[in-house]
């Protein structure tokens, strides 16, 4: 965590986000604390997408006329910029519709490998093989692996949690073993905020020859991330959580793996030769981008990367750490509030989930909403994690670069108001 970076001028930055100046529920200023679900978009991103659509919109990689050249350039520029942002070469980035599709792409490539010829053999999984996840996964990095197991007969195993909401690595060497084919794990938990240590997991996976899949949905938007440096085989992240449009996701795959991997979605633009009898496929990343792509969305992603880069990811991380250092004690200091996840701020992102004794999360969320505060309530697509924490659901506040300390205060006050309203304080 770099804390030496110059602090963000949040007020200036907020002016880039039109939605942040709106009011809700009879004139309450919007306090948007659900960026972990989806972020807001700055004018720069909206403008880039619109400019593209008003001047260069055309089919990508298919047309030979000027608009099509421009569109293709814009699309591939976005890929290249995004690659630089996360330490990947353009050929290693596949555009999907969301991060969820990215995980499914790898999962299906593995269950398709059985019938995809000798090149794909290293991806085959079956009875006796094991796939390892963790108990803190988002459903997006859990259910697709359950499904691979169901399709192929492989077995799902998982790493558990410690009492303080971190990954329990004490049995890493047992859970990840010679039978393990894949280790899929989250970089930063979307509920606990926990930042997981990538290095020991990657090291162990390599020892046993297992592939690693990193769910970087909650890390890439919030600080510097370099996939090559992390040494993972695959990673996914979600542009809509980092100021970019919805409708696009990113899958990173090490080049030699993508090259050997069988396709997932098939159709136009991903082929090499097609006859009625048989089809061969293009090299990656095209092989994995069937059909008309999310063109203007990629352009928007490029603009979001430019925006974040110009702010500086170190500074984003430092700013969010500042908010965390206020929010964590602020909430933990309220009697009857229980924080899910680490109580200290080391290796922890600015996402704080909590439960309030005697107030159901839905009801607490309603009180916060009435005050203009948008938080998420429920299990946040991490149901097993909540079960492991012995709560059915929680309230989650997730901060981003456009949030400020006054919003932390508003949250803390709002929680007290919820307690008051339901007569538990």
């Amino acid at each position: 965590m770099t804390t030496t970076a110059a602090p963000l001028d949040v007020a200036a930055l907020r002016a880039d986000f039109p939605i942040l100046s709106r009011t809700v529920r009879d004139g309450k200023p919007l306090v948007y604390l659900d960026s972990g679900a989806t972020s807001q978009r700055p004018t720069q991103v909206l403008d880039a997408e619109r400019r593209f659509l008003e001047t260069s919109n055309a089919p990508v990689h298919r047309g030979a006329y000027q608009l099509a050249e421009e569109a293709t350039d814009a699309y591939e520029y976005a890929r290249a910029r995004t690659g630089e942002f996360v330490g990947a070469s353009p050929q290693e980035l596949v555009f999907t519709k969301n991060a969820t599709e990215g995980v499914n792409l790898v999962a299906y490539a593995m269950s398709n490998a059985a019938t995809a010829g000798p090149e794909a053999e290293r991806f085959v999984v079956g009875p006796g093989d094991e796939i390892v996840v963790t108990e803190m996964e988002h459903h997006a990095n859990l259910v697709p692996w359950q499904q691979v197991c169901q399709r192929t007969g492989a077995t799902l195993r998982w790493l558990g949690l410690t009492e303080d909401g971190r990954l329990d690595l004490s049995d890493l060497d047992e859970v990840v073993n010679e039978r393990t084919k894949v280790v899929a794990f989250v970089h930063q938990s979307n509920v606990l905020g926990t930042v997981n240590p990538v290095e020991p997991i990657v090291r162990r996976a390599r020892q046993v020859g297992a592939l690693t899949v990193l769910d970087a949905c909650q890390s890439v938007p919030h600080g510097p991330v370099d996939f090559r440096e992390l040494g993972v085989d695959f990673a996914v992240f979600a542009p809509h959580k980092m100021l970019a449009p919805s409708g696009i996701g990113v899958l990173y795959g090490r080049r030699e793996l993508l090259e050997a991997m069988p396709p997932f979605l098939t159709g136009g633009s991903m082929i090499e030769l097609v006859t009625m009898e048989r089809t061969t496929f293009a090299p990656p990343p095209q092989r994995f981008e069937a059909g008309s792509p999310m063109t203007s969305q990629a352009v928007g992603l490029g603009a979001a990367v430019d925006y974040l880069t110009s702010v500086g990811m170190d500074r984003v991380a430092a700013h969010e750490h500042l908010l965390l250092e206020a929010a964590l004690p602020g909430l933990a200091g309220i009697p009857g509030v229980r924080i899910l996840g680490p109580a200290d701020t080391t290796d922890r992102g600015a996402t704080v989930a909590f439960a309030i004794d005697g107030v159901h999360p839905h009801d607490a969320g309603q009180v916060l909403d009435s005050l203009g505060i948008a938080v998420r309530v429920g299990h946040h697509c991490a149901w097993p994690l909540h079960r492991a924490c012995h709560v059915p659901a929680s309230i989650r506040a997730s901060f981003y670069l456009y949030n400020d300390l006054s919003e932390v205060d508003a949250l803390v006050d709002g929680v007290r108001e919820a307690q008051r309203f339901f007569g538990v304080a």
Binding site: K28, D363, A393, F422
Partner: protein
């Protein structure tokens, strides 16, 4: 936003002192329902007798709205014929899906009219209907089970 328009006293009363809570024997059918976005759940049993709802018993976890509406449900349907219960249910569902545009009939819905404010919050409608969906499901299983009495 007027928080009190959603959380009417009647709702908070049912929440704090739910009617008919607890799982009881005998019963003809049981239904488990869950709200997939928040994990709220209810297990609800019905005992039918001679075309009438003889008893409803339930257990579950959930927000004030889902708990209170299940409590109101028991008041509204126990002792009534299945047909009457379904008419009441239809009225309650219509009210909840009405986005605050439907005028509730107090003669039919009694304490259920208190949920009119909830109907303005689409994300909470599922909460209000959770117990009712369990009731519907259980009755239809009970029917399928041949209404053992």
């Amino acid at each position: 936003m007027n928080l009190e328009s959603m959380y009417q006293e009647i709702i908070l009363d049912h929440y704090k002192n739910p009617h008919g809570r607890g799982l009881r024997e005998p019963f003809d059918a049981e239904s488990f329902q869950v709200n997939p976005t928040c994990g709220d759940e209810v297990t609800l049993r019905v005992k039918l007798n001679d075309g009438k709802v003889a008893d409803i018993s339930y257990e579950g976890q959930g927000c004030s709205i889902s708990q209170a509406s299940t409590s109101v449900l028991t008041d509204l349907v126990v002792g009534h014929t299945v047909e009457e219960a379904f008419t009441t249910m239809d009225a309650f569902v219509e009210l909840m899906q009405g986005r605050g545009q439907v005028e509730p009939d107090e003669d039919v819905l009694e304490d259920g009219v208190a949920f009119a404010g909830v109907a303005k919050y689409p994300a909470r409608v599922k909460c209000a209907l959770l117990g009712w969906m369990a009731f519907k499901d259980a009755v239809s299983s009970a029917g399928a089970n041949g209404e053992a009495s």
